[in-house]
């Protein structure tokens, strides 16, 4: 039997106040299985009555070693793991990984593939925001919003299933384009989403935006100024809720985002309610982007025809010896990437999602590092939670929208 250690504050005495050492305040363990911590997050709270004096996040319960594991797979095979990082934004993870590989090996993507990537990544952003709205509203006891949001999310998961055969872990984007073209039913299904969702967003807003119970629980809670938010490395809605208009889709456009007309919503209050308003507004902008991309969707190939890096179509393999050799080489050995490194970032539903990718001249990545937005957004929690009530802490955790798969990697 391994020795069971008694819990103590020895290693963390510098993180709590002197009163905790003397036993005047209470140390309370929240999580890792607490339903309001959105996954497996453990918080050590120092409480004076109901007031949080200090808050020490303890992460790593979902650490899966994806960065280490990707080093032992070829570039194509490692992509399957990227879905598992931020499980609310699977196609967004695929997108940033594909962009990084494409930059490393200098590969061009056809315009049709870029536009479909934008549509699917934005659909995924919408579904991620729906889950955020559902769970964070549930945290402040708005049960019906939860049920409605999950109903609407099904429509988006159905579209992902239509394209890729998978509802969540799609791996639909591949280095050099897409796995295959979207089926003919795709356009009608997306049009249906575009038709239904604006009214549904109004419905959520009618339940929450002016609901006095919701406003009381969120206004003035978990405030952070724009300057502090920048210094703490916040990105996404947490930064825009504090009045800083920063969005990677505008900052350094990728995958053809510069062609689409959309706004970057900001709020200046920097509290839980501001972050809520930003995300609601973002959902409407997302629909705008999808509509423009769908209206201007060009025809053409969806995969690069550089067959040294991208497998040839299945139909060619039966008739062309060269295609067969390329297919065999790519799926047994993979392609070699230069001995250099790139950093590529995209705007995920939570903020700047970046990947640092280094090659060593061989078919496997030498080092992959994920710069995940939830990591920084969670790190600031002790600042947001200073002197708040335990019940408000739950609302704050909901409003920063962390995904623990994204934090722990």
């Amino acid at each position: 039997m391994a020795q069971i250690e008694e819990a103590n504050l020895d290693g963390m005495a510098h993180l709590v106040s002197n009163r905790a050492i003397k036993g005047e305040t209470m140390i309370l363990n929240m999580g890792p299985q607490h339903p309001s911590t959105h996954g497996v997050l453990r918080l050590l709270l120092e409480l004076d009555g109901e007031t949080v004096i200090s808050c020490i996040p303890d992460v790593g319960f979902l650490h899966t070693g994806i960065e280490k594991n990707m080093e032992s797979k070829t570039y194509q095979k490692a992509e399957v793991m990227t879905d598992r990082l931020d499980y609310m934004n699977t196609t967004g993870n695929n997108l940033v990984y594909c962009l990084a590989v494409e930059k490393l090996v200098d590969l061009d993507v056809p315009v049709r593939a870029q536009a479909i990537r934008v549509i699917i990544a934005e659909l995924q952003r919408f579904s991620s925001h729906l889950v955020w709205l559902a769970t964070s509203a549930l945290d402040v006891a708005a049960m019906s919003a939860f049920l409605y949001c999950f109903r609407e999310r099904e429509m988006i998961l159905d579209i992902l299933e239509l394209c890729s055969g998978q509802r969540m872990m799609t791996t639909f984007f591949r280095p050099g384009g897409l796995w295959r073209d979207v089926p003919v039913e795709f356009e009608a299904a997306v049009r249906e989403v575009l038709k239904v969702m604006p009214r549904r967003i109004d419905e959520y807003e009618s339940m929450l935006t002016k609901n006095p119970l919701f406003v009381d629980r969120t206004v003035g809670i978990g405030k952070i100024s724009g300057e502090d938010a920048l210094a703490w490395g916040l990105t996404g809605a947490c930064l825009r809720g504090s009045g800083v208009a920063h969005d990677y889709r505008k900052f350094a456009p990728y995958s053809g985002y510069e062609q689409y007309d959309f706004e970057v919503p900001i709020e200046t209050a920097g509290d839980v309610y501001a972050r809520y308003l930003v995300r609601i507004h973002e959902m409407r902008q997302t629909l705008r982007i999808i509509e423009q991309a769908l209206n201007t969707l060009p025809m053409g190939p969806v995969r690069s025809n550089n067959h040294k890096l991208v497998p040839p179509p299945r139909s060619e393999i039966g008739t062309s010896m060269e295609a067969l050799i390329h297919h065999f080489k790519l799926w047994t050995e993979g392609f070699n990437a230069p001995k250099d490194s790139v950093y590529v970032a995209v705007e995920s539903p939570r903020g700047e999602l970046g990947v640092y990718l280094e090659g060593d001249g061989g078919p496997k990545p030498y080092r992959v590092h994920w710069r995940t937005p939830s990591w920084d957004n969670l790190q600031v929690l002790p600042v947001l939670a200073k002197r708040c009530l335990v019940a408000d802490l739950v609302a704050i955790i909901g409003s920063v929208d962390i995904v623990l798969g994204d934090v722990d990697r």
Binding site: M1, A2, G11, M12, H14, L15, V59, G60, H63, G65, E67, K68, N69, S72, K103, L104, D106, L230, A231, W232, G233, V244, H246, F251, A252, D340, S341, V342, Y343, A345, E352, G354, Y356, E358, Y366, R367, H369, R371, W375, D376, Q379, V380, D408, R409
Partner: protein
């Protein structure tokens, strides 16, 4: 991106080598210069530290690690990256937590995953692995950790050396 002007200004002050790849340049600085370089970068208007990570070039010993720092400036619409070579014996670097507060967790991750000592860090504990974990998982000499399969003929032999809670 108009990062070129900043990187040239930094290079003239700190004399680093420039690595260029796919239109992006990275400045190599020595580890004792790092806090000064970071302070200078903050003064140049880079409000946010975006990323810190490391790469292990294991059989190499000097330098064994490269640290990678990435800064973003919203006002100048630019990003700037640094590389800091670190030797394999006593790997360590000064903290930049005082300049960019969010370096705290990222430097803890460096310590946890690569065993790099961060001098002057306020809270240097493991962050992702359990506090009593041995070794630093992202080092190249750390095994990936497959389980050794046991068969009927060698079950007991492997069972003796297999690490798990036996009783």
């Amino acid at each position: 991106m108009n990062e070129q002007t900043f990187i040239v200004a930094l290079q003239s002050e700190f004399n680093g080598e420039l690595i260029e790849f796919r239109g992006e340049s990275t400045l190599v600085v020595q580890r004792d210069q790092l806090p000064d370089v970071a302070r200078k970068i903050r003064e140049m208007g880079f409000e946010r530290l975006s990323d810190i990570t490391a790469v292990d070039y294991f059989p190499e010993e000097n330098p064994r690690f490269h640290l990678f720092y990435l800064f973003t400036s919203l006002s100048n619409k630019a990003t700037l990256s640094l590389r800091v070579p670190i030797p394999g014996v006593n790997p360590g670097v000064g903290t930049i937590e005082g300049i960019y507060p969010n370096a705290n967790w990222r430097e803890r991750e460096l310590y946890d995953m690569f065993g790099i000592q961060i001098d002057g860090h306020s809270d240097l504990r493991r962050i992702l692995m359990p506090h009593d974990w041995e070794g630093h998982p992202l080092r190249k000499d750390y095994p990936l950790g497959y389980e050794e399969p046991q068969f009927t003929f060698n079950f007991d032999e492997i069972d003796v050396r297999k690490p798990y809670a036996k009783d």
